[in-house]
Amino acid sequence: MNNNNNKLNADLYLASRFENIEVAERALLDLCQAAGCTGDDEYWLVTALREALANAIRHGNRQDPGRWVRVAYTIDNCSVTIRVEDDGDGFDPEEIPDPTAPENLLRASGRGIFYMRQFMDRVEFSSTPGGGTAVVMVRDLAPTTRSSEHEV
């Protein structure tokens, strides 16, 4: 964990195993605690993180533990940014059907990106140089959880 110019940063490299989602969650919670970001913000940040990681591990890296997922967190006074990259073949997020459409409500899958977009303020997908997927998610912090008054 680094503290640069009132920003908290952490980078993780995780093997593509679902149990590593817990490791990434723990790291994010520790960072949130250090930044004084708690409550609802913390809960929905973790919710979105878990979806991004599940997608990277299952769909991107096909649960191959030899492939890595890279996670980067940045917390400043106003927002939390989470970047998740996989080593997969990439995909077009626009092709995911709307899970709230009546014809899709009873589908057992296809809600991960919807979760991310619901619980973060900005979500952007792009391709990595290696052809994998990078997702950057930003959540603006509620004024009551901003940490301007404490040391980070």
Binding site: F18, A54, T100, F114
Partner: protein, 111 residues
């Protein structure tokens, strides 16, 4: 995720707690429903009072359980949603799919 099973009359109440998430709880709830159906119990209530988180895999598995139980002529209902789990059901619009109750007696009497 932990669970506790109670049979009240012909209704099976499955009390769930912890996380219903990918690679763990999502698979377990499917198994719990399969077990109920194997015991000829198709009136099922998931008591979510102790559930701290449900990811999209967990929600997806709950939907799959709902359709599986319906195919067996029964119904899967939900009880004791926390405010955050309720929020998730609202944004996914699954609140329109599941019957949701705060009171156990009311849930039991709804079948």
């Amino acid at each position: 995720m932990k669970y506790e099973i109670r049979d009240l009359g012909d209704v099976r109440i499955v009390g769930l707690s912890g996380k219903i998430t990918i690679g763990g709880g999502d698979v377990k709830i499917r198994e719990l429903v399969d077990n109920a159906l194997a015991d000829s119990r198709n009136k099922i209530i998931f008591d979510l009072g102790g559930v701290s988180a449900i990811d999209s895999s967990g929600i997806g598995e709950m939907v799959a359980c709902y359709t599986t139980v319906a195919k067996h002529g029964g119904k899967l209902k939900l009880m004791h949603l926390s405010p955050k789990i309720n929020d998730i059901l609202q944004v996914t619009q699954l609140i329109t799919v599941f019957d949701v109750y705060d009171d156990e007696q009311e849930a039991l009497g709804s079948f």
